[in-house]
């Protein structure tokens, strides 16, 4: 039972992070390697907001979430917009540079110490016992639910929403989409803010569960194989991919060797790349060369 919970929680973490990669990749074919840093930034925003709205944890959380959406849009408007049409590798490198910048800023503003937003907000993290002697902490539970809600909302949005449809169109053929009058910059900016939002949610909830340090971005890198196994341009794929990677990781830790957990996601990934390079649910495509 506990193993099952562990898998679900870890899969939710990976899935919530992975959908950020997918959103941006799907519309603009750019791999956002600053995703982890933006996620961490979201967690630190909670800290900032908690001192701003002392005594109102809900207000502080909402403010942090809104700020992270704005951050995503700003990143696109001031940075990634300039990279539209450039070499894909250059765009990826730009996100790397952004990541470095964010890390520097975080150390500058919040120092490199471990911080506990939950403590700053004055909220606790009780544990629930589930039938079958499983334990789950409040914020892990919230994370699982948030993940489900986020995926549900994104599915609905992309399937039925007006802007969602535009996003899909831009992803399929940007030139055609632009010529049909779709505001490409608007669509891309939206993708960036949504991606930052989901990333920040993951970061915030993880930070509420167990604190935040400057090493948080590395976790996002481990979520990356999940996105790739499922197919980089498929949301549903990211969910399944996260389950596979998390399942493999948790089971290997328990039954084989904990040390493997670092390598396993990437082994799964290599196996996947050999069999179905475009992922379980991805679309087959010819990728740009350098």
């Amino acid at each position: 039972m506990q193993l099952l919970i562990n898998i679900v929680v870890l899969a939710s973490i990976y899935a919530l992070i992975a959908c950020g990669y997918v959103l941006i990749y799907r519309v603009s074919r750019v791999l956002n390697l600053a995703h982890g840093e933006l996620m961490m930034f979201g967690a630190y925003l909670v800290l900032a907001c908690s001192s701003l709205f002392a005594g109102h944890p809900v207000m502080a959380l909402c403010a942090a979430v809104i700020l992270s959406i704005v951050t995503g849009a700003l990143v696109y408007i001031f940075l990634m917009r300039k990279m539209t049409g450039e070499m894909v590798l250059a765009a990826i490198l730009t996100t790397v540079a952004l990541g470095i910048l964010v890390r520097g800023v975080v150390v500058l503003v919040w120092s490199s110490q471990q911080q506990y937003p939950a403590q700053a907000l004055g909220i606790s993290n009780p544990t629930f016992t589930l039938p079958g002697d499983g334990h789950i902490s409040l914020w892990s539970l919230v994370l699982v639910l948030t993940n489900l809600a986020a995926y549900g909302a994104l599915f609905g949005f992309l399937r039925f929403g007006r802007w969602g449809m535009r996003m899909r169109a831009a992803g399929q053929n940007p030139l055609l989409a632009a010529q049909r009058g779709i505001n490409l910059h608007g669509v891309y900016a939206l993708a960036w803010s949504l991606s930052t939002l989901t990333g920040a949610l993951a970061g915030i909830l993880m930070a509420l569960d167990s604190g935040v340090t400057g090493s948080m971005p590395v976790i996002a890198l481990k979520a990356f194989p999940a996105a790739l196994v499922g197919g980089l341009d498929s949301l549903g794929g990211a969910l399944i991919g996260a389950l596979i990677v998390a399942g493999a990781e948790v089971l290997l830790i328990y039954y084989v060797d904990p040390l493997l957990s670092d390598v396993v996601p990437f082994l799964v990934l290599v196996a996947m790349l050999f069999v179905r390079p475009w992922g379980l649910f991805g679309t087959r495509e010819e990728l740009d060369r350098v």
Partner: protein
Amino acid sequence: MFRPTPRASGYFRTDYAQDLALLQTRAERIGLAALVAILVTLPFVATPFLLDLACQVFLASIGALSLMLLTGYAGQISLGHAGLIAAGAFTTGILTREIHAPFWLTLPASALTGVVLGLVFGLPSLRLRGLYLAVSTLALHFIVIYLGGEYETKRGFSTGILIEKPSLGGFKLTDGRAWYFVLLIFAAATLLICVNLLRSRSGRAWRAIHARETVAEALGISISGYKLLAFVISSAMTSVAGCLFAYYRGVVSIEAFDLFLSIQYVAMIIIGGMGSLLGALLGAAFVTVFPYAIEALLKLLPNVQKLAGDIFAVNYASFGVVMILFLILEPLGLVGIWRRLQNYFLLWPFKYKPLAGTRK
């Protein structure tokens, strides 16, 4: 270096020997002689710290050149470069610790490791392209690091594998100056190999594959063979760089080869300018020297003592800022600036090419 540089008029090549010569005009020969003279005298005037920086640049150049060969010319993206450097360094470390292998044995052994890994790293390239290929090489990076970490822990080298400085013909390489020349020679040799490879059949094949695989295949180029060749050659050179790194620093530990190193190498070739060996050299120098330069510049600011605790964070962040500015403002890289500079003098006193006819 390889791309025909613009020349003044009146220069004709009249036989094949001239066509094959690396240096074709007197100006080029004089330029090279001057460069060699500067590089040779530098260690006698520079401080040991600058010498160390120069050595780092040479090491980075070897890595950047080999990555440029693979990515800039053959068009295969790799994010596993740090893994390859680590592989070379660990081969050296393990061989010296376990069987006290001398320099002349570890160097080819590292190259051999590189060849083997190049084949392994290259295999996915037969099926994958672009980003997916990059990610598969990333996976191999993690595997190499994992194996290295296991070795370190199992043998109890928790602070890294220590390596004796190598001796060449009874002469022990400890002096910074000696190292400078050794690394300079290796970097120059790598450059020469790259230049010649690119002028040969394989170089042309790589560029054909890079441009369009289908056409290349129709021209009778063995796609898989040449792709693997690119990986093998590039990896072998990178592993040699790893071996030299291990000897130069006297220590090998997994912490030295993190993902950030791979990214730094990619940054080198992009900032330097894709598809140019000169770009690889410029990029290697820029990315290596840059953090030190920023640090030095920031320390010039007034009241810096007050900031003491923050200065390094500022330093780190500004590395990101400058990289961003570079990517946005100069997409062609350093080599783009270099070419503009060249054209400026070539066309002087005109600003643009006058009477630019139909040809570009």
